[in-house]
């Protein structure tokens, strides 16, 4: 399930941090900032952190939370920080490490067929790969046709899990397109007869001298010449990525801090979420529309986990196996969401990119729990945070206070 065990863990850890801060009279932002991961930090024996925007995320959310001012009775903001793997390195199959591969074939008219093993399940990986391919090859997104999800035609790839596709499949696509571009530019160098210390590149379908961009030729013309010179063989580029020697979990980590503004009705225990703001470091965003979609979708799923969705069992029988009784967030319950993109550059990722989407499900339950704590002074140790549990905690708190 999205989060891979981490949403449960963050619910426990990040709430306890908040309670410890309260016990000692410390500022929760300051404590998190003090202990935050930084670039070049090593988690002993487990992970080596390269790009890390954790402190900036904390700064931005602190600013945002303080800007909201006094929210009134029974309402507060709760926060949770989080980091997530940007590509689980493990593989349970034929090789010790995870891997991705890609093949790009350039047609005579300059359009390209990109065959990838990564799987689009709605998260938009086909679009992300098309963007990376277009940028690398120097063409438009419309020139790239992505082929995925067919073992007869696509190269092997472990698929969509462990937040791996942007980084791993993205790197494979980038490598494949660099290979294809290099083959094309070999013809361009010969064709253009350049002197010393000149480099060529392709951008926006224009093959040009980097230092003198006005000197060049059309990409389509170069492709035709290259294919003709190769007796009709298409230009084919191959790419592959595997994260050897990158620790025990992941070659890179995304970071974020999320704030949930929630109001609790002390009579019914019901929760109304007013706002969700996330400061998020996913390195270089590749597809901003996709990133926003991932944030909003993750928030709806994670909020559902935090206070709506439950799977009660009775002697092994699931009591709510239908969409009437299994409650998920619907449009009227979905709060506004915002994202502050903290820009870092991850050397391991394609164009500096890291994951976005799974990590975003992790902090929400904790942030909501902390909002409830800050608003009502009750500690929620059980998920989901149902009205019954809120009322029970409020009763117990009252009894404790009258003693």
């Amino acid at each position: 399930m999205r989060g891979f065990g981490a949403p449960q863990a963050m619910f426990c850890s990040e709430q306890q941090i908040e309670w410890m801060c309260k016990d000692l009279g410390l500022d929760p932002f300051e404590v998190r900032r003090k202990n935050a991961h930084t670039e070049c930090y090593e988690v002993p024996g487990q992970a080596y952190i390269q790009s890390c925007g954790m402190s900036e995320c904390i700064d931005e959310i602190e600013k945002w939370a303080k800007s909201k001012g006094d929210l009134g009775p029974n309402r507060a903001i709760g926060v949770s920080s989080c980091g997530f793997m940007s590509g689980g390195i493990f593989n349970w199959f034929d090789s010790p490490y995870s891997f991705s591969s890609a093949v790009i074939t350039i047609n005579n008219d300059g359009t390209a067929e990109l065959h990838v093993g990564c799987q689009d399940i709605g998260q938009g990986s086909n679009t992300t790969m098309a963007i990376i391919a277009a940028e690398t090859l120097g063409v438009k997104v419309e020139d790239i046709k992505v082929h995925s999800g067919d073992t007869d035609h696509c190269p092997a790839d472990l698929g969509a899990w462990g937040s791996r596709q942007t980084l791993m499949a993205g790197n494979a696509v980038k490598m494949a397109c660099e290979d294809a571009k290099k083959q094309l530019l070999e013809f361009a160098y010969a064709e253009m007869g350049l002197n010393i210390v000149y480099d060529l590149d392709i951008k926006d379908r224009w093959v040009h001298v980097i230092a003198r961009p006005e000197r060049g030729m059309k990409y389509e013309d170069l492709v035709k010449k290259a294919i003709r010179a190769k007796d009709g063989q298409r230009i084919i580029g191959r790419g592959y990525y595997t994260p050897h020697r990158k620790g025990m979990i992941s070659p890179a980590y995304s970071y974020m801090m999320q704030a949930v503004d929630a109001e609790i009705d002390p009579e019914t225990g019901k929760i109304k979420i007013h706002d969700v703001m996330t400061a998020h470091d996913c390195g270089q965003p590749i597809n901003p529309l996709g990133l926003i979609g991932q944030l909003e979708g993750a928030a709806s799923m994670a909020l559902g986990y935090a206070y709506l969705e439950d799977m009660p069992m009775d002697e092994g029988k699931l009591l709510n196996p239908n969409l009437v009784d299994y409650k998920v967030i619907k449009a009227p319950e979905m709060p506004p969401t915002g994202i502050i993109d903290i820009h870092t550059y991850e050397a391991e990722g394609p164009y500096g990119a890291k994951e976005a989407g799974e990590g975003l499900t992790n902090p929400t339950a904790a942030a909501l729990g902390n909002a409830v704590f800050n608003a009502m002074g009750i500690q929620m140790k059980e998920l989901p945070i149902t009205p019954e549990r809120v009322l029970k905690a409020l009763r117990e708190k009252k009894e404790q206070e009258t003693k």
Partner: protein, 387 residues
């Protein structure tokens, strides 16, 4: 408009042509015009419809399955049980055979309410559904256990033979001297310990689990399925069916959501493939929403203990965690989820010393078959979930 886009970004020096610009999703036109074909939509000439008979018991021996009456129903073409399979125990952890513990159509016993015991192929879905009522399964009901802390007791019934105390996986991660750190904190720091209970969650993808398998006389099996990894399914199916990998083609052009629930082999793929192989005809199995809830892997519920030591100025000193997770009937992804659950709180924060103890994934009889794993931290990394 409260859902107005609030997206601010810090500028970078690099100007990209395409990266970080707003582009339409490359699959957009197909999706907004209703043309995208999901497994749910696939129909083939001569296709049969499959339905799965599921166990009503959380733990029982399968004594006998009599499907003779079902075969007599007009329109029913075939019924298969575990006896029609190679009986191979499979799982995602292929490198560790002891964690491959699931026969999707079990031969000897069932371990959760909803576990498949037989599959029917018929000319319509209604007939296949009606045929399920005509299959007689004789069970010997066994005692069941539902809570991880009960499953670990000595007197608890054994769910998987050879797995002591139903502990599926034990993991331990440790660095630094944690006891020393806690002793230091007891003198002039602060220690807090808490127990939590986290619930499960279902992926609830809009497209339920589905597969259309088509085995043809040339020995090729083509499977359209809603999956997160066509490659894994190709390898897993080839393995359990005893086929050459290249003879298994998995197609997943459009998938209606995954969220982690669709990269392990499920009954829709397996049963449709077994039926199709037997009949040399396409067979389609689509889970109902109820089946999808009952009989698929999901987020692990767990008990989570955290003890943290901090200096009075807020510097973290040490953390000790223990997790007991409710693994359900089979390993699945449990071992990995367990490890990540113990470790990920340490991604945003630096912790000098750490001990993740008692990570234990405990098998339980349940309707869900996620494997929860429990970790145990004291330096023994037992990859088996029996702890």
């Amino acid at each position: 408009m409260s859902s107005e886009l609030r997206y601010s970004t810090f500028k970078t020096n690099v100007k990209y042509s395409v990266i970080n610009t707003n582009v339409h999703n490359v699959d957009g036109i197909a999706k907004v015009t209703g043309r995208a074909q999901y497994t749910f939509d696939v129909t083939l000439p001569g296709m049969l419809y499959g339905k799965i008979l599921r166990s009503p018991h959380p733990h029982a021996k399968i004594i006998n399955i009599d499907y003779s009456k079902a075969l007599e129903l007009s329109g029913v073409v075939a019924v298969v049980t575990g006896k029609d399979t190679l009986g191979i125990k499979q799982g995602i952890w292929r490198r560790y055979s002891e964690l491959c513990d699931e026969q999707i159509l079990p031969l000897e016993k069932v371990r959760y309410i909803g576990e498949p015991v037989a599959a029917v192929a018929a000319v319509t879905e209604e007939i296949a559904e009606a045929a399920l009522d005509l299959i007689d399964v004789e069970y010997e009901v066994l005692p069941a256990v539902y809570e991880p802390l009960d499953a670990i007791k000595k007197e608890a019934p054994t769910i998987h033979e050879g797995v002591e105390r139903n502990v599926n996986v034990t993991r331990h991660i440790e660095w630094g001297d944690v006891d020393d750190a806690f002793a230091e904190a007891e003198k002039d720091g602060y220690i807090r310990e808490d127990w939590f209970r986290c619930s499960g969650q279902h992926h609830m993808c809009m497209e339920t689990r589905a597969a259309v398998s088509n085995y043809t006389p040339d020995g090729k099996l083509t499977v359209w399925t809603s999956t997160q990894s066509a490659y894994y399914h190709q390898a897993l199916l080839a393995g359990v069916l005893g086929m050459r990998e290249g003879d298994v083609r998995v197609i997943a052009t459009y998938v209606g959501g995954g969220f982690g629930g669709k990269f392990e082999l499920d009954a829709a793929q397996f049963c449709s493939a077994v039926l199709s192989k037997k009949l040399c005809r396409p067979v389609k199995i689509v889970f109902t929403r109820e089946e999808d809830f009952i009989a698929s892997k999901r987020r692990t519920p767990m008990f989570y203990y955290v003890r943290t030591a901090m200096k009075k100025d807020g510097t973290f000193l040490a953390r000790e965690s223990r997790m007991f997770s409710n693994g359900g009937a089979y390993t699945g992804m449990g071992a990995t989820a367990l490890y990540l659950s113990g470790f990920f709180p340490l991604i945003p924060i630096q912790m000098e010393r750490l001990q993740i103890r008692r990570i234990q994934g405990i098998y339980k009889y349940n309707a869900f078959n996620i494997n929860a794993w429990i970790r145990r931290t004291t330096g023994n990394v037992l990859l088996r979930t029996a702890d």
